[in-house]
């Protein structure tokens, strides 16, 4: 087991010993701009979905109020006259 750990340490040192790449000065700014764009896009999508849902709800309410589909439809024929 210890030899295995030693191997791991060896490779870890190899990785750490590599020269560090230079971080570009505008990395944070570029990432922030991109992140802002993603946030804006996500907010726009959320807004659009909510708008569609709200519009659907309003449309349904108005339609239901106007046509009253729960009311029994009026009879089309008069009942037969009996008992005279």
């Amino acid at each position: 087991m210890s030899s295995w750990d030693r191997r791991e340490d060896e490779v870890r040192e190899l990785l750490d010993a590599q020269p560090q790449p230079v971080v570009p000065w505008d990395l944070a700014a570029r990432a922030a701009v991109r992140g802002q764009r993603a946030m804006r896009r996500r907010r726009a999508v959320h807004l659009a979905v909510w708008a569609v849902l709200l519009a659907a709800l309003i449309t349904f309410t108005v339609w239901a109020a106007l046509t009253e589909p729960w009311a029994a439809s009026p009879r089309t024929t008069t009942p037969p006259l009996e008992g005279w």
Partner: protein, 209 residues
């Protein structure tokens, strides 16, 4: 409402800048190791890291105490796994330290050794069984050690010449997937291990014992 949002945006920008100033170097190093590029020419690593940091920025308000470094690392690993086919064969001029490993070996090696992520966590991140992660890591370590031995000239028993077992293809795909935890992260499945440098034979139990 508007004022509060502006204030929050400013605070986020400030915190994010401080975070990148502190962790950018280490993250870029990890990204460079992942893409297998040399440290002085790491365009792909920069692109990868920028995308991952942008994801962290977009979720900054939802972190709720979570470590942004960990979050970025996860994002980096996921994005690399998605786009790994692009990094499979870096051209001859752009060869870094890990260029001879497969993308998945690089990913496991960087997460396990460079970042020190636990084996189970790595397995869950990549959507692989833990055994498989251990096997990949062992193979990558053997390859790296063989290479460093070759370079230094000290050819003290390169582990590559281990007695090749009867052509058992290196633990193929592990049918025992029930061991795999539910992993929403898309694993690096499209990577077919080319594995010409490591013929076989580095079974999991071998180096451990």
């Amino acid at each position: 409402m508007g004022k509060r949002r502006v204030a929050r945006g400013e605070r986020r920008a400030r915190e994010f800048e401080a975070f990148v100033a502190g962790a950018g170097g280490r993250l870029l190093h990890a990204a460079t190791l992942l893409t297998g590029e040399p440290p002085d020419r790491c365009e792909a690593a920069e692109r990868l890291l920028t995308a991952a940091l942008a994801g962290t920025y977009a979720n900054w308000d939802q972190l709720r105490g979570e470590d942004p470094y960990e979050r970025t690392r996860q994002e980096l690993a996921a994005r690399f796994a998605h786009t790994a086919w692009r990094h499979r064969l870096p051209g001859p001029p752009a060869r870094g330290l890990l260029a001879q490993l497969t993308p998945r070996e690089r990913l496991v090696l960087v997460l396990r050794l460079y970042e020190g992520v636990a084996e189970e966590v790595t397995a869950a991140t990549l959507g692989l069984p833990a055994d498989r992660v251990r096997a990949i890591c062992a193979r990558a370590i053997s390859t790296m050690r063989a290479r460093s031995h070759d370079e230094t000239g000290a050819t003290a028993k390169p582990p590559r010449t281990a007695p090749a077992a009867p052509a058992t293809p290196t633990t193929p795909a592990v049918p025992a997937t029930p061991a795999a935890p539910a992993a929403p992260v898309t694993p690096a499945v499209p990577i077919a291990p080319p594995a010409p440098p490591t013929p076989a034979g580095h079974s999991v139990g071998g180096p451990v014992s």
